[in-house]
């Protein structure tokens, strides 16, 4: 498959990623569409992709930071697989009630 030089292979999978609360504020973004590189298969891979953006992304999503995640509106873990059309969310530990 032809692709632009120097860019990772795109898997053709598009996902929506949402950010909430303090994470949304520090990242300056509440939602975005991402075309997943072929190498990204699970939540952990997506998080690494975002961390690689550097700056606030690296700071807010670095391993060890208390970040929770959901896939299609259900709590998920690092090894949860990601598929085309999924809605992924990253957020801090919840504080309702």
């Amino acid at each position: 498959m032809d692709r632009p030089r120097g860019r990772p292979a795109n898997s053709g999978r598009m996902i929506t990623v949402l950010y909430f609360a303090s994470l949304r504020e520090s990242l300056g973004k509440g939602a975005e569409q991402i075309a997943l590189p072929a190498a990204v298969r699970d939540l952990e891979g997506l998080r690494a992709l975002l961390v690689a953006r550097g700056g606030a992304w690296e700071e807010g999503l670095a391993p060890g930071r208390p970040v929770r995640a959901a896939v299609n509106q259900a709590m998920a873990h690092g090894d949860t697989r990601i598929a085309d059309g999924d809605e992924i969310a990253f957020f801090p530990p919840v504080t309702g009630g």
């Binding site: 959901a70 801090p92 919840v94 504080t95 309702g96 009630g97």
Partner: protein
Amino acid sequence: MTVRIQTADFDVSVEIAALRRNNPKVGAVASFVGVVRDINDGGTVAEMTLEHYPGMTEKAIEEIIGQARSRWNVLNALVIHRVGQLKPMDQIVLVVVAGEHRGEAFAACEFIMDYLKTRAPFWKKERTGKGARWVEARHTDDIAAERWRFKLGSEQ
């Protein structure tokens, strides 16, 4: 079983009356009302903003009510959680459980509240004299939810 996320306030007695209406099997109604305090972590809270994850929040609470129903004989349950701007003394959350006996109603009500605290996607931001800050999750809330794992399913 009803879950409502809303900005508007709620009337506890109206909600309880609606929950047990036309059901003569109900022998006990337990309710919990969470209220905004003016002090948190040593700071004076002037105002609070509640953010949630529309869609997932409702699903998470429905799932929690489902778990409560699998443990106790719950005849009906209601959760109302407010979002948006709130001030000290405002009601923030209501959990009501109707059952045949008080033991089940109390236990299911407390269970729903403990799980909501750690599993339902809400986030509080407080405005204090020193500026705005996001409320940090409490370890004591994790412990409160965790202890249900070791409790017997029924406590009548």
